[in-house]
């Protein structure tokens, strides 16, 4: 819910061309997948492959439309974005994903917490990582022990709750 102030440029937009290509690729994958499905239309005449095909052709059409708008420069200009904070959050999510089953919920999520705070300007990771792990551990305790949610436990959780 944020608003960008833009003035309409009139030039080719390579990024929009990439979007058009991406849409075409998705359509291609859907067509390829639907080709291997058995036609079990039965009495309706519309089988499991029909709707994916229709959606794929729709996407192809939208891809062409996007390409035309891109070439005519009708695409809206994008707000200026700083790449570093975005990458910090992506890195945090990736770290959590890879560490989750190795290090357990608290450590993995604590790193995500610290990296996100880093993206928003809290740069001192030596302080935010322990803080994040502590907070994530409290959350883990509440949700896994009280609300019986199935959250992966790691060394930290096993240390304090040997039964987990």
């Amino acid at each position: 819910m944020s608003v960008t102030r833009f003035d309409p440029p009139r030039r080719r937009d390579p990024a929009a061309l990439i979007i058009a290509a991406g849409l075409a690729v998705v359509a291609g994958v859907m067509l390829w997948d639907s080709a291997r499905l058995a036609d079990l239309g039965g009495y309706s005449g519309v089988g499991p492959a029909s709707v994916p095909r229709v959606v794929a052709f729709g996407l192809l059409g939208l891809s062409v439309w996007t390409a035309i708008e891109a070439l005519r420069g009708d695409f809206p200009q994008r707000p200026r974005q700083a790449p570093a904070p975005v990458l910090w959050i992506v890195a945090g999510l990736s770290a959590q994903m890879m560490l989750l089953h190795v290090a357990g919920f608290s450590i993995a999520t604590g790193i995500l917490f610290a990296f996100t705070a880093r993206a928003f300007g809290k740069t001192n990771l030596a302080m935010t990582i322990p803080l994040g792990i502590g907070f994530a551990f409290v959350v883990w305790t509440i949700f896994s022990q009280l609300l019986m949610l199935n959250l992966p436990a790691g060394p930290l959780e096993h240390l304090i709750f040997p039964g987990a």
């Binding site: 819910m1 944020s2 608003v3 960008t4 102030r5 707000p79």
Partner: protein, 51 residues
């Protein structure tokens, strides 16, 4: 006559509201013309921190 004018103005207002909202949904600043139709000054609108 007045009824027709009333309906037309209501419809125009509705159209403007739809257009402003759809602009906001895709993170665009609505156009001055649409905002004026709703009785909103663009400067006032821009003063709101939309984030």
């Amino acid at each position: 006559m007045t009824i027709i004018r009333y309906i037309r103005s209501a419809l125009r207002m509705f159209g403007a509201a739809v257009s402003v909202v759809s602009d906001l949904r895709v993170n665009h600043l609505p156009s001055e013309r649409e905002l004026n139709r709703l009785g909103i000054k663009k400067a006032d609108f821009q003063a709101i921190h939309l984030n």
